[in-house]
């Protein structure tokens, strides 16, 4: 499958959207007509609001939360603590759902979270082959490539090739283990702590933890020397 473009993380979400019904003609006197799906979403919202089933302010609140307050920084805090506190790490491996809930990160959809730790022997990578289940409270909304057919199909079939597309090469004797998420179970990869980070505090460590390193399609940043 020659679909490498879907695996360019920097471009995945920034692909031009040039297939819409958008009317960009500046001479037009009327308002910019939204695309067909945008109008369908608006219609659903209007119908449900009229029936008192939806509170538009609550929708804005949800959007604000996921756009501005929940994101990979949450997961990075968990990883940094796991790196610096062996007791915390043990508890995290035992029951991540409870441990991250104590940090204020819990699944609004009632899902469980499992932390999977990378070791020299095993590299973990997360996918959702059925749809796009993802640890929202820890990583926010998944990137476009995570939701693409290409990633969902290839991650299980040829994880090493996918990792190579992301620029990750592992030693040949490191096994790759792929975790398939479900609506009930989401996974957080705990990447390996980079060399040369001894003595760094949790905040400095968290800055090294990238989103992709917590999905398993990347590695943490190296500390500046």
């Amino acid at each position: 499958m020659g679909l490498d473009i879907a695996f360019q993380p920097r471009n995945a979400c920034a692909m031009p959207h040039d297939h819409h019904d958008h009317d960009h003609d500046a001479d037009h006197p009327h308002s910019h007509l939204p695309s067909d799906p945008a109008l369908r979403v608006k219609a659903l919202e209007t119908v449900l609001t009229r029936k008192g089933l939806v509170d538009p302010a609550a929708l804005d609140e949800i959007i604000d939360t996921y756009q501005n307050r929940i994101g990979p920084k949450n997961g990075a805090q968990v990883v940094a603590r796991a790196w610096s506190d062996p007791e915390f790490n043990r508890a995290l491996m035992h029951d991540a759902t409870a441990v991250v809930a104590e940090m204020g990160f819990y699944g609004r959809q009632g899902e469980h979270i499992t932390a999977v730790e990378n070791t020299p022997e095993t590299h973990n990578m997360v996918v959702c082959t059925l749809c796009s289940c993802y640890p929202w409270p820890l990583l926010g909304i998944p990137p476009g490539w995570y939701k693409s057919d290409a990633y969902r199909a290839r991650a299980v079939r040829e994880p090493r090739a996918v990792l190579a597309d992301f620029g990750v090469s592992l030693p040949p004797d490191t096994a790759v283990r792929v975790w398939d998420s479900t609506a009930e179970m989401r996974y957080l990869v705990i990447p390996r702590r980079p060399e040369g980070t001894e003595g760094m505090d949790a905040e400095a460590l968290a800055a090294l933890v990238t989103r992709d390193s917590m999905i398993g399609t990347g590695l943490p940043k190296e500390p500046a020397t």
Binding site: A12, C13, H32, L33, P37, A38, L44, L48, I63, G144
Partner: protein, 107 residues
């Protein structure tokens, strides 16, 4: 440092996401049931073409939510279609730069 990717690439993706999360949280459907339905739609759409993770993905999401809401009688297909047409008309008659509203008979 690279610029962060937008969380949602289109406003309607965000609106649709929020609507679904809200309805779930209000108890209209359980998330695993939602995910199972959504997965079916993705699979069906995926037979016809390789889906990207953007518009293709959210189009499948929208189709699923429309079906679920129609089945539950919360938003029937015809009702939704009428309101959509009303919004379309509202956009077409509203001068550029003005807020777009449905008329009182429409909304």
């Amino acid at each position: 440092m690279q610029a962060p990717e937008p969380v949602f690439s289109e406003p309607w993706h965000a609106q649709l996401f929020a609507l679904t999360v809200y309805l779930n949280e209000e108890g209209h459907f359980a998330w695993p049931d939602w995910a199972a339905r959504f997965a079916q739609t993705l699979k069906r759409h995926g037979f016809a073409k390789e889906l990207d993770g953007g518009d293709d993905y959210f189009n499948a999401w929208l189709e699923t939510l429309e079906a679920v809401l129609a089945e539950r009688g919360a938003a029937g297909a015809e009702e939704a279609e009428q309101v959509k047409a009303a919004w379309e008309a509202a956009y077409l008659r509203t001068p550029h730069g003005q807020p777009v509203h449905l008329t009182s008979s429409e909304g």
